[in-house]
Amino acid sequence: MTGATEADVPASASTRAFSDRSNPIFVKELRAALRGRYFRVLFPLTLLVATLIAVLVLVDGGSYGSNRLGRDLFQAMFGCLLVAVTGLVPFSAFLSMGNEWDEHTYDLLVISRLRPLQIALGKLSSAGIEGLLYFSAFTPFLVFAFLLRGIDITSIALLLVGAWIASASTSAVALLLASLGRLRLVRVMLMALLAALLLAANIGANAYVDMHLRQPPAMNTMEEWQALALTYFLLGLPGLLALAAASSGLAHAEENASTAPRVLVTGLLVTLLGIGIWSHLSSPSRHTPMIVGFACALGVALCDLFFVTEAEPLSRRVALFAPRGGVRALFAAPFLPGGGRGFVLFLLHLALCVGAVAAMLAWGPHVGPRAGWEVEAVFCVVVFAGYLVVYLGGVSLLFSGRTRDARTRLVARVLIPVGALISIFAPALLGFLVEDRKWMEMQHPFDPFWVAIASGVEGDDAKHWAVLACVVAVLVLALNAPRVVRGLAEARAAGVERERRAAQTARAGETAHAA
């Protein structure tokens, strides 16, 4: 098991080739994990607890002659497995990332040839292996549950795949959180947050399993497979985004850690909108365009809030590698780091969302209850986008002067969603106090969902609020104009400078050649 044995005992050629190609972090983590206390104590302990629970379920079920003993046992064992793979495994990933900060070893990794994504992937894959060990340890229990009847093999397989995706996804989120907290104190708070998230994920997963087992889908229609694929995708999506965010968070402060996630988010958005358009055109529904528009705008805003709060100026290093030429750099600007440029990207994303909804309603058949409904529906999405512009544009503008400081960035990033939530829910509480029925029921101008929907498709009792929201959004846009212009001009200048340098190098090369 130790490394030295590998060095001394001639391993087979294929093992060596595999070991050579593996991610170094993965190899290291695995060695340390297998020797570490965390795993050596928790693994047997989990199995012991699982055995106890299994015995309890069997004794209890056997005493009243339950005919669903297999299902009960499966559910109990699967619950334990979930605790292990979406609780213990992400936690160990969190601790191992945190260790790099505590031990000051991260610098040593940075100056090696490892790239941030490789580091994150290495940590993630060793978490994956740890998860696999739990899976294999639980296999006998699950097989036993199957033999007791009451559960079909398809359900078992589908749920196991789901648990595996959930494990990877939660581990990636844990890595992201750990990568944010270089200070121990911050990390303690992040750990509490992680614990809360994992608890919520476990409760949700158990509820899903319960639902699934009550009415196991037969999996013989296209729709069921589609729904399953969508479930897996949504399960994995936070993990994918967290992995992207973690690896950009691990990158050097002056390095361009922003372009890759910006492209990724844009790509995901286009894919999701494409799926939405396709699904609306293949089976038109009044709800699809609205759900797609709102969900995508909200989702993309959650991602873009990281970009709009980045430090404004281009770092020296990023400027060195700006696209060659002013025009090219200008067009690429939304994908270059910087808050102002991030805001441009965010506006582009919102335009894509609104455009997709408009396309669905223009190309698809008429689905609304009355004439002109389509226009109102698009207006709904525009109003909602207006609120998002106010949240992201407003808060990031307030902080834009000081976002070079990592702590300020963190505050801004937390304040955007938290501030939005407060502005939505606080008026409802206020409504309770002053006994205003409408405000109590979340029908107030600070609730974007109500204003957007009530002003558009559901009649016009909030139209004036919607118009006001649009006016405020335009105001925020105007206030953001200077930093946006600065951001674009800076990108252009960097592009021009790069072209100049390239020409200079080429000239120098020619002279050298001539000489």
Binding site: P24, A32, N99, E103, L108, I111, R113
Partner: protein
């Protein structure tokens, strides 16, 4: 031919604080350059910039001709950096630690195994390869970190206070290792607070204070630049007052002061004048038992150049 490590006008600010201000110097192949300065002078910051862990606000650093700004990956492949504080991984043995970093530097298969063996032999860690890092002494950890730094055979090495916290024996061993590395043609930049240590090890020094480079070059050159006068120590068998009276009559002797059983004075004249002075003392019936110019040492350089202000 440019120096292996060349620092050109780097400036680094942290908010309002200028940690490094327009610093330039170079380290040649085979040279060991000591980097000295009081706490907070900007040594670590300068070294981190060379190691691509920070990027300069102005200026650039070249490692074997590669800019840290434009080609940091090329620089990383050629540079070994040993930070002042570093930790070790829990549950990891010496061998695993080195094997991991060798992988991280892209070494594969037998080449990796061979290289890990070589650096363990060089740093005399071979017998300890199964030991967990958490159980190592400070001296062993330092050697392990040096071994790690050598894995990819860098041509430039940057050691940030490698001797801090080591006992005398471990320090001597470290010095020998560093000398051996310079002998292999590596350019080495070492920072330290232990000046005698540096003086024995280094070919030259760079002195920094509050982010500004105060002097750079050979210790002897710097002291000659600092002092217009030679310093001479003299001790005679006669009572010290007699010597003082005799010296006071000499025109070229300045600032005579007692130092232990003898007297130290500044002498502004040429060596021939100094010989005449000795002859004059003997002629007056004094019996000198010691008469020697005193070399300025690094400590003196340090204290003269820096003002002792902490940043």
């Amino acid at each position: 031919m440019t120096a292996a490590l060349e620092i050109r006008g780097i400036t680094k600010r942290f908010g309002a604080l200028t940690a490094v201000n327009d610093v330039s110097f170079g380290v040649e192949r085979g040279q060991i350059l000591g980097f000295i300065g009081p706490n907070g002078a900007g040594k670590t910051t300068t070294m981190r910039i060379c190691a691509t862990l920070e990027y300069p606000d102005h200026g650039d650093v070249f490692v074997d001709g590669h800019s840290v700004l434009t080609y940091p990956r090329e620089v990383r492949a050629r540079l070994g950096f040993m930070p002042d504080s570093y930790g070790a991984y829990a549950n990891t043995t010496i061998w695993e630690y080195l094997d991991f970093f060798a992988r991280a530097y892209g070494l594969k298969g037998d080449a990796r195994r061979k290289r890990v063996g070589e650096v363990m032999d060089f740093t005399q860690l071979g017998d300890l390869q199964e030991k967990e890092i958490a159980t190592l002494s400070k001296g062993m950890k330092q050697r392990l970190c040096l071994a790690k730094t050598l894995l990819h055979d860098p041509s430039v090495m940057i050691l940030d206070e490698p001797a801090a916290g080591l006992d005398p024996r471990a320090r001597v061993e470290l010095r020998e290792l560093v000398r051996a590395l310079a002998g292999m043609g590596k350019a080495i930049l070492v920072s330290s607070h232990i000046l005698t240590e540096l003086a024995e090890m280094c070919d030259g020094v760079a002195v920094i204070e509050r982010g500004e480079l105060k002097a750079t070059g050979l210790v002897g050159d710097i002291t000659r630049g600092l002092r217009s006068h030679a310093q001479v120590y003299v001790r005679v068998l006669e009572p010290i007052e007699v010597l003082e009276r005799a010296l006071a009559e000499q025109p070229l002797v300045q600032k005579a002061r007692r130092d232990g059983a003898g007297v130290v004075f500044d002498h502004a004249g040429a060596p021939a004048e100094l010989a005449k002075l000795l002859a004059a003392l003997v002629a007056q019936g004094l019996q000198p038992v010691e008469f020697a110019p005193r070399e300025a040492n690094l400590e003196e350089v340090f204290l003269t150049l820096t003002e002792g202000k902490l940043q």
